[in-house]
């Protein structure tokens, strides 16, 4: 594979202001190369140098060893095509006339002849971007996305080896963006085009680029694959904004989320007890948070990671058994006037008036646990395979743990582990047995857990049993579960 483009120690200054400092990178044939950076980082200047809009002042840009200034404008246009953010819409030109301009550099006689080859290149390019039916339409009658596709067709009609893109999807909605970029990547791969593109959206850049160059104040701060570059610490320093990195749900590329700056939140000002409001209704406990909490849960409604403001533990009758439990639960929540999309909803057959609530305040954080427990369904996880069948009863031990602190994903998972281990120990000490196997039960068949954290204040990377927060989780859950079991038994024996 040959290096198609080498940029060597390129610096550039407008009259008084230096905008690029010693930029060096190499782009290989067939590569999709992204340039990222905040406004004013020099990325557009860099692209203008590549498109010959500006001439190189110091350093060099070479293509297969040949310096850029030695190309005439026409020669360069046969090699490289540009798709800018916006092009003035020339009034009255049809799509076809617009795309025909892409052949300009290929007609190099004094009296240019329009050849069959030109005609075919134009038709093929229009077809490629899916505008064949609109070829006769005026360019100003197209939508923004279609217009940009027409300009992409013009760039393709140039038959370039290199495509230079300056935030080509800047003024499009997300559907149009993806449509154009998919088209672009497909064309690039089919024709082995090299693409150098400026992106302002890091997620888009990370999805589509093979490698990225990150600029900050005219200097190259990083160069590498999206996986290497999408590091929160690096992005934070470049964009001056906190960034969070997550995995893309289906593609092996990182996803990034910028974090808005928040003022001192209610939590930090007031603490956990003031943030949460507890309401006991006839058939449920509803806990309302004044600000959304990030939640990891196995609840019926709102499972997995999500942000939530309402937490409901609903009491249902012992013989509640419905196929469409989730739907029914949502209807129930809606009837209660709760916002379903930000509510975590659990069920239990236990009397919710027996819920145990323990609050623990430490220097660095505070924690609040709410547990309801019933063991009509007790199961020993280690021997569950011996049971012939499970009766789906609403059973159960429901735990909600609210934490005033910032948890990593790992800390969430460890919090679940720690709480579960503490629960098992509480069951053991209360002599709860699996009625079928006659061994100590480790839980019930339908236990549920909710870990909710404010994501402000102290950061916790881990929440295992060795950490301070893990220790508090373990102890509080252990105590709350034991107390809840005692209340459960008391009510059972009483009735």
């Amino acid at each position: 594979m040959i290096d198609v483009l080498e940029v060597n120690n390129v610096s550039y200054r407008y009259q008084r202001k230096q905008v690029l400092y010693d930029i060096t990178f190499t782009v290989e044939k067939g590569e999709i190369f992204g340039i990222l950076g905040p406004n004013g980082s020099g990325k557009t200047t860099l692209l203008k140098l590549l498109s010959k809009e500006l001439s190189v002042q110091s350093g060099s840009i070479t293509v297969n060893g040949r310096p850029l200034p030695s190309f005439s404008h026409k020669e360069w246009a046969r090699f490289a095509a540009v798709l800018p953010q916006t092009i003035d819409a020339a009034f009255g030109y049809t799509v076809k006339e617009t795309v025909e301009l892409g052949r300009y550099a290929h007609q190099h006689r004094l009296l240019p002849m329009w050849t069959e080859e030109d005609e075919q290149a134009v038709d093929a390019a229009i077809h490629e971007v899916g505008l064949t039916e609109k070829a006769g339409e005026s360019i100003e009658r197209l939508s923004g996305g279609e217009r940009q596709r027409a300009y992409l067709a013009r760039a393709l009609a140039q038959n370039p080896e290199l495509l230079l893109l300056d935030e080509p999807t800047n003024h499009m909605d997300i559907t149009q963006q993806l449509h154009l970029l998919n088209q672009l990547v497909r064309s690039a791969k089919e024709k082995k085009l090299t693409v150098i593109a400026i992106f302002h959206d890091m997620n888009i850049a990370s999805l589509y680029c093979d490698r990225l160059l990150m600029l900050k104040e005219g200097k190259a701060v990083a160069l590498g694959t999206p996986e290497e570059l999408m590091e929160p610490a690096l992005l934070h320093s470049v964009f001056q904004s906190p960034v969070n990195k997550q995995a893309h749900p289906t593609v092996s590329k990182p996803l990034l989320a910028f974090l808005p700056e928040r003022g001192l939140s209610a939590i930090e000002q007031r603490g956990l007890p003031e943030l949460l409001t507890w309401t006991t209704m006839d058939d449920c406990i509803a806990i309302t948070a004044a600000e959304p909490l990030k939640v990891l849960s196995s609840a019926l409604v709102g499972s997995g990671f999500q942000w939530a403001t309402h937490f409901v533990n609903r009491q249902v009758s012992k013989d509640y058994n419905r196929e469409d439990a989730e739907l029914e639960m949502k209807q129930y929540l809606r009837k209660r006037g709760l916002p379903v999309s930000s509510t975590i909803g659990m069920m239990t057959a236990v009397d919710i008036h027996d819920a145990v609530c323990i609050y623990e305040k430490q220097d660095a954080f505070s924690l609040w646990a709410v547990v309801t427990a019933g063991v009509g369904n007790a199961v020993d996880a280690a021997h569950a395979w011996k049971r012939k069948q499970f009766e789906q009863k609403i059973g159960t031990i429901n735990m909600m743990i609210f934490i005033d602190g910032t948890l990593t994903d790992a800390a969430y998972v460890q919090a679940v582990m720690t709480a579960t281990e503490a629960k098992v120990k509480a069951l053991y000490e209360e002599n709860v047995l699996d009625p079928e196997t006659n061994t100590y039960a480790t839980g019930t068949s339908t236990d549920c857990i909710v870990i909710a954290a404010t994501q402000t204040g102290t950061a916790f990377s881990y929440a295992g049993t060795i950490t301070p927060i893990g220790q508090v989780i373990g102890r509080v859950v252990y105590e709350a579960t034991k107390e809840a079991l005692r209340r459960y038994r008391k009510r059972r024996d009483f009735s």
């Binding site: 498109s51 010959k52 809009e53 005439s72 404008h73 026409k74 020669e75 360069w76 246009a77 046969r78 095509a81 540009v82 800018p84 092009i87 003035d88 020339a90 009034f91 009255g92 030109y93 049809t94 006339e97 617009t98 301009l101 892409g102 300009y104 550099a105 007609q107 004094l110 240019p112 006769g136 339409e137 005026s138 013009r154 760039a155 140039q158």
Partner: protein, 351 residues
């Protein structure tokens, strides 16, 4: 869709044929109508005999008729045609390059410069020894070209990239300054006032072949320069950056186009004064019919602009004959309503 229909339904060839026919008929009308009416057939016979040496029997056309056609009417309509064509083509090119619908041949101040030259000649009664009566157009055209050079140099000094906005501003600055100079001379003049005003209002009367011959080389050079840059003008319509991206040598082409259009403007102004409206509106009218593609727009503007001015001149000299109206008044009097009508119909169709 309507517009699409009209554009598709007329092939390029038929558009040329229509325009050429309109031009030919207007030329014949211009020669034919006057204090003495001459039938088309006679005109054609006279022209054939003069150019191809075909025999002409005295019954067909008496000698004085030949004289009227060849020495009075023909040079006048040809001059009117060339001036109209120059202004229309230059206007189309300026509008395309400057991306401004209000641009016309006079935007860059070249016409003001040429006028200053002409008014100076009249004001001081200058007669250059070698040129005689030719002094005025020659001084005028030199002033026009000098103005273009000044505007371009000034633009370049302000901004190396020479963006069209800067060019327009520079043109307006110089144009305003030269207009003030003209006003100053008008204010200070006594005897020559009428002559200056008449020249400024524009006319193609009583110029004879000499002026046509003077105009012709500039006309040919300017038109060829612009026609060679038709594709570049199309590229410029999408902005200078876009033109550069498809491979246009922006600076060189821009100067070529400006020079070509200014040659046409300066030469036209120097032989006929500042005739308004043709350069602004004819390209717009042609665009309504054939679209903005300069490969079609430039030649069609040439033909229609020429025909338009021939007909305007015809009206100017016949409406209250034997007196003549200033041709610039007529171009606007018939041009404005015509343009309004076309524009109105076009906008209605779009709805």
């Amino acid at each position: 869709m309507q517009k699409l229909f009209t554009r598709k339904s007329l092939s390029n060839a038929s558009m040329y044929i229509i325009a050429a026919t309109v031009a030919a008929v207007s030329l014949l009308l211009g020669i034919s109508i006057g204090s003495l009416s001459i039938p088309f057939s006679t005109i054609i016979k006279i022209l054939f005999s003069a150019w191809l040496g075909l025999p002409l029997s005295g019954g067909d056309a008496p000698d004085d008729l030949v004289q009227i056609v060849m020495m009075i009417r023909l040079p006048r309509v040809v001059l009117a045609f060339l001036v109209g064509a120059s202004l229309a083509v230059a206007g189309a090119a300026f509008q395309g390059l400057l991306k401004n619908a209000l641009a016309d041949p006079y935007t860059l101040g070249v016409s003001s410069g040429a006028s200053v030259g002409a008014v100076l000649v009249i004001f001081f009664g200058i007669q250059l020894p070698l040129f005689g009566t030719f002094t005025l157009p020659i001084v005028s055209i030199l002033f026009g070209l000098a103005t273009l050079a000044l505007v371009l140099l000034f633009t370049r000094a302000v901004e190396r990239q020479m963006s069209v906005e800067t060019i327009i501003l520079a043109g307006i600055i110089f144009g305003a300054f030269f207009s003030a100079l003209i006003s100053l001379m008008i204010a200070l003049t006594g005897e020559e006032l009428r002559q200056i005003i008449a020249w400024l209002m524009g006319s193609v009367a009583m110029r004879g072949w000499k002026y046509t011959v003077l105009l012709l080389p500039f006309f040919l050079l300017g038109v060829v320069l612009l026609l060679l840059n038709a594709r570049e003008l199309n590229a410029f319509a999408f902005g200078e950056a876009a033109a550069l991206h498809v491979g246009v040598n922006v600076m060189r082409r821009k100067i070529m186009i400006l020079t070509g259009a200014s040659l046409l403007t300066g030469a036209a102004v120097s032989v006929s004064g500042t005739i308004g409206f043709v350069g602004l509106v004819v390209p717009h009218m042609v665009r309504l019919v054939c679209g903005p593609n300069h490969r079609l727009l430039l030649p069609l503007s040439l033909l229609y602009g020429g025909a338009f001015l021939v007909l305007a001149d015809l009206l100017a000299r016949t409406i209250i004959s034997p007196r003549e109206l200033p041709i610039g008044v007529i171009t606007s009097l018939i041009g404005a309503p015509l343009f309004a009508l076309l524009f109105f119909r076009r906008m209605k169709r779009k709805m």
